[in-house]
Symmetry: C2
Subunit: 343 residues, 2 copies
Amino acid sequence: MPRVNIKTVAQYAGVSEATVSRVLNSNPTVSEEVRARTLEAIEKLGYQPNRAARRLRANSSDVLGLIVSDIENPFFTSVVRGVEDTAQAAQKSVILCNSDENPTKLKNYLKIMEAERVAGLIVAPTSMKDGESLQRLTQVGIPIVLLDRQVDNYVFDSVLVDNIRGAFTGVKHLIDLGCERVAMIGGTPALSNARDRLEGYRNALKAAGLSIDEKLIKEGNYKIESGYRIGKELAHSTHRPQAIFVANNLMTLGAVRALRELKVRIPEDMAIVGFDDTPWANELMVPLTVVSQPTYQLGQTATQLLLNRLARPDAPFQTAILHTHLIIRESCGAQLHNQEKML
Amino acid sequence: MPRVNIKTVAQYAGVSEATVSRVLNSNPTVSEEVRARTLEAIEKLGYQPNRAARRLRANSSDVLGLIVSDIENPFFTSVVRGVEDTAQAAQKSVILCNSDENPTKLKNYLKIMEAERVAGLIVAPTSMKDGESLQRLTQVGIPIVLLDRQVDNYVFDSVLVDNIRGAFTGVKHLIDLGCERVAMIGGTPALSNARDRLEGYRNALKAAGLSIDEKLIKEGNYKIESGYRIGKELAHSTHRPQAIFVANNLMTLGAVRALRELKVRIPEDMAIVGFDDTPWANELMVPLTVVSQPTYQLGQTATQLLLNRLARPDAPFQTAILHTHLIIRESCGAQLHNQEKML
DNA sequence: CTGAAAGCGCTTACAG
DNA sequence: CTGAAAGCGCTTACAG
């Protein structure tokens, strides 16, 4: 079955291909009568313009690329929704790829995005060293918005979260509750948000006049498994910490699992504050106190920045910082604290 | 900065565009010497072939489309991983869209996929009525594999799960534990898997010689909120059921939330068995007994079917049925039961 | 083994 | 307001 193309439509409607193209692109210089006739032909033939051809010729496209670093993390799926909704409202479609926190996979998808000639790209870097690969895309005219993470030596439009302040608040909360030995399960220092959350942790200890025990600072990889493994280590350590601050949602789940298996009670034996809320955090064996991030809004904002950039390629770069807030539930021990007070 | 194209490369390497194209496509009829020279030019210029152009001309593409119906559901994110890994191994890339359980959005994305000329498409339908829209794509040469859900009146390659049997097993488990009044929170009957799970539920009751109380069968929409709402209803009902069988993971979370808020104990006051496991199911206030689905493998299999279809367009349609298994944790009351026995 | 040329399906100045 | 024609960057018979 021969595919119907613009020529078929033109013949059917008795107009030129140029005219069909014009009505397709809502060019106002087409008479009502011709437009109607053309639209009818399009409808009747079920014509679907070939975007590959359009993109080739017009050198512009209405698809936005989005590369997240872990599609299995609810943080990103929520961001994805924000991006999709905002893009859709602006008549753009989005294609999504998953770098799996892997710089090599990221580079590969970057190539694909370039080859696909997406109009612009939102990406969560896998490392602060990703700048060069990203820069390449902007050089060929594909603007980039950085999501959630920064990059060394290069500047892009970015949307970030106040990680330092967020972590500070979470750790301070633990300290205010009386914890003096607070451990941290962090992410890889290759990630800016991991560094920032660690900095927030340090700041909170310093601000409280507490000493920093480097042995209490552990490096995970933002996956469940590492939170689990480090959680066990921490629970087994000789001079056990009173609390753990965990730098992301999945590692928090892992840590909770570890403590459950070891029958370490939360928060009585060890308190926990996590970074990033999830739909299930409140239904866990002990409802999680977390530093919550505006995930959906992160996606919205990133898309908006990209759309702005597309509209004004030469505008100065912009960084949007979104704010976190502490959600106090039970894993931090606040309830316990209240009960004690009541006694 | 003018983009480097095949012409630039050809001139730089001192060969024709045709030759560059040949080395790009690993055409064996190129001499080693010329190939090396061309590759060097490609490397030096950082040439990135324009896929839009290739697709236009070659009328073939190495990108696979994947349309899931709820990107926020861990079921689908796991499926996505399976698809991506399998596609990647076959040198294909995948672009992902989210229909949000909305037939209109699905139609829209279907158009985009067609316009993008993807090589093939894996889709989770939003309704059994989606067949016609899907058929359209196969008519223009884009093969389709149905994921997790079937469709009326049209036949496609499909990968499904043994929903009837899975639900049967879950409900039977509850009955064996002594529950005679088992409620069901199901999905919309527009979805084949929702129908099948309901059928499995009915079968289990019948097999046990129990009567079916239609008032105990509730229709949700596979989102948290509906599980929550119906969970409350059920908890408040006058002749309260002893157990609930919930047809998907997100609704199960909602139901757990509802019961917690109402201080209905699980499983003492009401037992729960859910359909589909999640990473957090075991860490919930009461670890969830679930009918687990092979999610990752579902993605793998769907991709394999699509790849097969691409290789052999005229082969007969195939349906792969993957199997579920029951994971017994605590929400069903099995532990309780054991304790009783021990007394 | 390699090149010249046609053509994929669009869009966009350029005329009129 | 509309059409004829060129061209986007590739691939692929067709020659040689």
